[in-house]
């Protein structure tokens, strides 16, 4: 997992030379005072600890120990008190720990001091998630987005000794003159790299803008999957498309959006889009980097929020996903087009499953399913079909044979159900969004008025 700042691919954005298989201790701090005591996302510390272990395993770290540590009085130098620091140092030595994953944010000073005390590498939650994203990104844009986020994170932590940056400086051309401190040099190296990536990203964004325009030309509605990481989005995607997208029991198995065509029961075709999963405390650097990708997803005609209802913290996960959506400025306006997919019902015991089915029967927006067994999938497809149909009105228009543009417009914006041509007119029955009905009728009216005026 060693890599460098210069690595354009960004497959491994090394934060301090951690390696696959490192013997790892995961620590989840439980704050008793201060601002961080407020937030738990409705979860138990044990659940948060288990999630942090899952994150560590996601990049093949060998988690050999894990514990919650109560922090009554956060210390500026080591975060936790000296008693805990000493106790953990003994554990690190006894269990031959290579790496400590700290499931919270650490300041650079705290990180450096804990590494000194424990004689092992320390990485915090943001660093770990950046590392996972760095491993998962496949497209050039995804890789650059992750690298940009990692550089922003690294820049804020330059108090540490970054000797590897110095070794890499040859790759960046002219490097500063005598008298420049190590930190100043490192900061400049990172700034130069950030400028270069931002410029490259601008080029990619221009391509993406063209892409988005092209995607809007795809003559099918888009249905997007969102949800907490490991909620089963990729398993559902595979179930609906008969595809073989990587659906692993791994956090953030999917990072780059994937699309496929799917036939609904009515014969209607849609584009199904699978996307990156969300997680609590998603690093702000990553939210910023992936904002464009997330926003694009939310332009979908229908959004399926996939939930793992068998997870003990399913409500907390739901709140986290909704918080990310709200952070993107998308709240109430998307709820009209969103279904809650209650996935993994096969993992519930019978009473819990029955209770869930009863609850869902009262809410048309809740769809209980098992992407793994296929239970509920037919109902889900029918509901999406009905939702897409309900978003539109059926109208019949009689158009002259010379009104080719109007006909084309109807074919572009609606779903033509019937077309009858006779000698004088073409009669088209079409399903259109209400706003498109208004737009079409206004355009025809304006055109008729203009023609009348010309004739006078």
């Amino acid at each position: 997992m060693t890599a460098t700042i210069e690595q354009a691919g960004g497959a491994h954005l090394d934060l301090d030379g951690i390696r696959h298989g490192d013997r790892t201790l995961v620590i989840h701090p439980v704050f008793k005072t201060g601002p961080r005591a407020q937030y738990s996302g409705g979860r138990t510390p044990e659940s948060r600890l288990e999630e942090a272990c899952g994150l560590a395993r996601a990049i093949d770290l060998n988690v050999v120990a894990a514990e919650c540590v109560r922090i009554n009085d956060p210390k500026p130098n080591t975060l936790m008190g000296s008693g805990n620091v000493e106790r953990i140092a003994e554990r690190v030595k006894a269990e031959e720990i290579d790496l400590i994953v700290f499931d919270a944010s650490l300041t650079p000073v705290q990180q450096r001091n804990l590494e000194t005390e424990w004689k092992a590498k320390v990485i915090d939650r943001t660093g770990l998630i950046l590392e996972i994203f760095g491993e998962r990104a496949r497209t050039r844009e995804g890789q650059m987005q992750v690298e940009l986020a990692a550089l922003s994170y690294q820049r804020s932590r330059l108090v540490r000794s970054w000797t590897h940056l110095e070794r890499q400086r040859g790759g960046f051309g002219f490097i500063g003159g005598p008298g420049e401190s190590q930190i100043e040099m490192d900061r400049r190296l990172i700034d130069e790299r950030i400028v270069r990536i931002k410029k490259d990203l601008e080029d990619v964004k221009r391509t993406r803008a063209l892409h988005r325009q092209a995607r809007k030309r795809v003559p099918y509605p888009v249905v997007a999957l969102v949800g907490y990481t490991n909620a089963g989005k990729s398993t559902l995607f595979n179930r609906l498309t008969n595809a073989s997208v990587m659906a692993a029991d791994l956090l953030f198995a999917t990072l780059d959006p994937t699309m496929r065509r799917v036939h609904l029961p009515s014969g209607r075709e849609i584009i199904l889009s699978d996307t990156v999963g969300f997680i609590s405390d998603l690093p702000t650097e990553l939210v910023a980097a992936f904002r464009a990708t997330l926003e694009e997803v939310l332009e979908a005609d229908v959004i399926l929020h996939v939930r793992d209802v068998a997870h003990p913290e399913t409500d907390g996960q739901k709140a986290d996903v909704e918080a990310v959506l709200a952070g993107l400025g998308l709240g109430h306006e998307v709820t009209d087009t969103m279904f809650e997919i209650l996935n993994k019902i096969d993992l519930l015991d019978e009473p819990a499953r029955d209770a869930l089915l009863t609850q869902a029967s009262r809410d048309q927006r809740q769809m209980p399913i098992s992407a793994l067994t296929g239970a509920g999938i037919d109902g889900l497809l029918a509901a999406v079909d009905a939702r897409l149909a309900a978003q539109r009105r059926v109208e019949t228009y009689r158009l002259g044979h010379d009104e080719g543009a109007a006909q084309a417009w109807l074919y572009s914006h609606g779903e033509v159900l019937e077309r009858v041509d006779d000698e004088d007119v073409t009669e088209i029955t079409v399903r259109l969004a209400p706003e498109d009905v208004q737009r079409f009728e206004r355009q025809r009216s304006d055109k008729a008025n203009a023609m009348n005026k010309d004739n006078r």
Binding site: E403, Y411, S412
Partner: protein, 85 residues
């Protein structure tokens, strides 16, 4: 009503065959189809052939990617040509 050139279905089929044969790129084909589509929508040609129009719209999305792959596979394109989609 203007004299803008409206392609026939066969002309679009020929374009798709060229894409399959590698003599036209997907991007070039999609850009041409999108431009024709926009012209037809903004001007006022004679009645459009719905089959041609459907194929034109599909062709305009030939360059859309899903990850590193194309959304529409070569088999999809063959099915369009055969009129099965």
């Amino acid at each position: 009503m203007t004299g803008i050139p409206v392609p026939t279905r066969q002309e679009i089929v020929d374009l798709l065959l060229a894409v399959l044969a590698g003599t036209s790129s997907r991007l070039a084909a999609a850009e041409w189809a999108a431009e024709v589509q926009e012209n037809i929508e903004s001007e006022d040609p004679e009645a459009v052939d719905p089959e041609m129009w459907h194929l034109l719209r599909l062709a305009a999305s030939l360059d859309v990617k899903s990850g590193e792959a194309y959304l529409h596979s070569e088999n999809d394109i063959k099915e369009w040509i055969e009129g099965r989609k």
